[in-house]
Amino acid sequence: MASVRAASRLLSRRAISNIKAVPAAAVQNSRNFHFSIYGKKNNAKVSDDISTQYPVVDHEFDAVVVGAGGAGLRAAFGLSEAGFNTACVTKLFPTRSHTVAAQGGINAALGNMEDDDWRWHFYDTVKGSDWLGDQDAIHYMTEQAPAAVVELENFGMPFSRTEDGKIYQRAFGGQSLKYGKGGQAHRCCCVADRTGHSLLHTLYGRSLRYDTSYFVEYFALDLLMEDGQCKGVIALCMEDGSIHRFRSQNTVIATGGYGRTYFSCTSAHTSTGDGNAMVTRAGLPCQDLEFVQFHPTGIYGAGCLITEGCRGEGGILINSEGERFMERYAPNAKDLASRDVVSRSMTIEIREGRGVGPEKDHVYLQLHHLPPQQLAARLPGISETAMIFAGVDVTKEPIPVLPTVHYNMGGIPTNYKGQVIDYTDGKDKVVPGLYACGEAACASVHGANRLGANSLLDLVVFGRACALTIASEHKPGEKLSPLKPNAGEESVANMDKLRFASGSLRTSEIRLNMQKTMQNHAAVFRTGSVLKEGCDKMDDIYQTLDQIKTFDRGIVWNTDLVESLELQNLMLNAVQTIHSAEQRKESRGAHAREDFKVRVDEFDYSKPLQGQEKKPFDQHWRKHTLSYVDRKTGKVTLKYRPVIDTSLDEEDCAHVPPAIRSY
C-alpha cells in the first residue's frame, strides 16, 4: 500500500513538471500520433484540485466523443471535417470496437437489384418497431440511407458490387417492397462479410487525416455536469493511471449496448453500457430499456452468434420431435420470420417440453441436410465456431441453439438530431451540450424491435446527425463555459474506493448473480410473478455492490478495477431493464409477456376504428418508458413519454398509422 502511494506521488511529481506534455510514461507511447499534442490549441494543465493521489490532466476541446465504434467514429470524423478540435475517448483501439463483429450489412433503398423507394424502407422499419419507433427519426434515417451509403463509398469503403458495377444488395429479414405487398426487398449493402470492420477501418483512417485526437485505452468514468448542462467527460488513462478531464461544449456518447447484463449474450465482454450508466448517474433518464432483442440462434452456452444467413441458406430449426416447428408459427416466412417471432416460437417449444438436450432447454439448428460444398463455401465460419464452442461437426450433427441477447433497442433518449432529451412538464427538453448516437442512443428508430442491417445504418446516419447538429449550432473555438475546479471529484473517489475495496464478495460473484437473475427472470418470455421476483432479487444484488472485493491495488493496467467499474455500469442498466419490463403490461415487439399477450394501444387496431373511444395516455402502452435511478438507494423511478407519430414531412412521406403486425 505504501509503495503504491509512493508510486503515485512520483507520478504526480513527474506530471507536474511536464506542464504542457503528456505524463512521462505516455511520451514513450508508441501510438504518439493519437495524442496530436492535445489538439491545436490545448494547454494540457495538470491540476491538484481533485486529489493529490491522482494527477489530473485537463484538456479543452471543441467536441468530445466517447466511444470509437461505428457511431463514435462517424461523429468524430464529421466534427473534425467541419473544423472542430475533436477528441475521441475510447477504452478500446477503434478497430476493436464491437462494430467489427457486424458481418451483415447496411440497409439502403438504392434500387440496384429491383425498383426501390426509401418510403417502403420507412414502412418496414415502422412496422418492425411495432409502432413504438418515432416516425420522424425513422423518416430521417431511411431518407438519408442512400446518401449515407454513397458517402461511405466515397470515403473508401469497398462495397461488394454486381457484375454491372452497381453496389450489390442482398435480402434481409423484414424488408419488403411496396409497403409489404411486393415481396422480399433486397436492400442490404455489404463489404463481403466484413462490413463492420470496413466501416471502422475507413472512418478511423480518414478521421486521422483531419487531425482528430484519439485517447485510446482511456476508460470514461462520468460526465461533467453543471447546472443541467454537460461540460465534458472525466476519464482514467489505463496506461499510467492518470485522470483526464476533457472539457468541451459538446459531448457525444457512442458507447454501445449492454448485453453483458445477461448470462448468455452474443456481445463481446466490452458491451457494458458505460454511456447509459454515465447518463443515469447524471440524473437523466434512459428510454425503453426493457426492449432487449434476442437473436434466435446463439450457440447454447457460449452465446456466439450463428448468423441469420444460415437460415437464409436453407438451415432449419427443429425440436425434440425432429419437427420444423417454424412452419406452425409463421406459415409464410417460416424460419426467416422476424427475429422476435422466431425467438418467441423457440421459447414456446421449450416451455411446452419439446426442447432438446439433457435438460430440454434449447433447440437444434440443422444444417447437415445442405450439401457439404455449400456449407464449406457459403458458411465456413459457422463450421469453426460450432466445432470450437459447441464441439459439433455441422456436416453430421445439428447445432444446439437458444435465443440469446443480441441488441439493446433502448438507450439514451434523443430527438432525430441526436440531441439528448429529458421529459419534463409534458414536453421534450434538450439537455444542453449532450448528444448520443448508435446503440447507446434511442432516437427511437428501432422501437420495440430492430430489423437486421438497420443497426449499421443507425450508426452512420445518427453519428453524422450529431456532427451536423453541433456544426450548425456551434462554432470551432467557442469559449468554454466555466467549470468548478473540483468537477469530477466524486467519480475519482468512487474509483479509488473500488480500487481498495475489501468487502466479502468478489466482482465476478456479484456479476454472475446479476447475470443469472436477469437470464432467469427477464429473458425472452416474461410473466408478472417471475418479473416481480426478479426485481426484488436485482434490488438486493444492487445493494451487494457495497460489499465488493477487488484484489488488484495497482493503478496501471488494472483489469480488475476496470471490470469492477464496468460492473457498476452494468448493474444500473440491469435494474432499469427489469423494472421497466415488470411495469409494462403488454406484449410488444421483443417484450413478450405470457400474462399480457396482446399489444395495448390507444385503439384496438384489430377491429375497425369507427365507434372506438381513444384510451387516455395512462391506460394504454404505446408510449416510451423513461427510467431514472437514485444512485444511493438503487431505487428505479419510471415515467412515460408519447411516441412521435408524425414524419418530418407529411406530404413527402405520410406517417404509417398503427396496424396489427403479421408477417
Binding site: H98, G309, E384, F389, R511, T559, V562
Partner: protein, 163 residues
C-alpha cells in the same frame, strides 16, 4: 523459382510497413451471406492505418498487465473467449520474445476476425505472424482435451497465482 521467393518476401516486407493484405492468395471467400462477390480490400490498401510500434521501454510486468487487458477486451465474443483463456494459460509464463510476438499478433491486425481465422486455421497465417506463439495459439484452439469453453474466465486465477 528463387526470384519468386524473393518477390514474395519483398511483398510481405512491404506489407509490414502498414497493414496491407499480403498478395499471397488470401482471398476471402468466407463470406457467407449469399452471393456477395469477393472482397477487393481497397480500403485496407488505400487507407493505411498508422503502423503498430513495439514498446521497447515498457517493463515486462507492465507489458503482461497490458496484454491481459488487451486479451480480454476484443471486438467479438469468439476472440474474447479464446484469447482470455489463452492468456490465462500462457501469459504469465511467456518469455520476453514470446510476449513481443503476442503483442504484435493481437494488436497489429486491424480486423479481429482475421486473428480468429488464423487461430482456427480457416485462413493461412501471414508470414509476419507465424512463429512460436501462433503455433501455441493454434494448438490451444484445437482443444484436444475437449475442455468446456463456455465463457471467458473471471480474474480469480490471477489472485490465486499471486498468493
Amino acid at each position: 523459382m528463387l526470384s519468386g521467393l524473393v518477390a514474395k518476401r519483398l511483398v510481405t516486407g512491404l506489407c509490414q510497413a502498414s497493414w496491407r493484405p499480403a498478395i499471397t492468395g488470401m482471398v476471402s471467400s468466407r463470406g457467407y451471406r449469399g452471393d456477395a462477390p469477393d472482397d477487393n480490400k481497397f480500403d485496407l490498401i488505400e487507407i493505411p492505418l498508422p503502423p503498430w510500434l513495439e514498446k521497447p521501454d515498457e517493463p515486462i510486468n507492465i507489458k503482461r498487465r497490458r496484454l491481459l487487458y488487451e486479451s480480454r477486451k476484443r471486438g467479438m465474443l469468439e476472440n474474447c473467449i479464446l484469447l482470455s483463456l489463452f492468456a490465462k494459460r500462457y501469459l504469465n509464463t511467456m518469455t520476453e520474445s514470446q510476449l513481443l510476438q503476442y503483442d504484435r499478433l493481437i494488436n497489429e491486425p486491424s480486423n479481429d476476425w482475421d486473428i480468429y481465422y488464423w487461430a482456427t486455421e480457416a485462413h493461412p497465417t501471414p508470414e509476419v505472424y507465424q512463429g512460436e506463439v501462433m503455433d501455441m495459439l493454434k494448438e490451444f484452439t484445437k482443444n484436444r482435451n475437449h475442455e468446456q469453453r463456455l465463457d471467458a474466465p473471471s480474474l480469480e486465477y490471477l489472485e490465486k497465482e499471486s498468493q
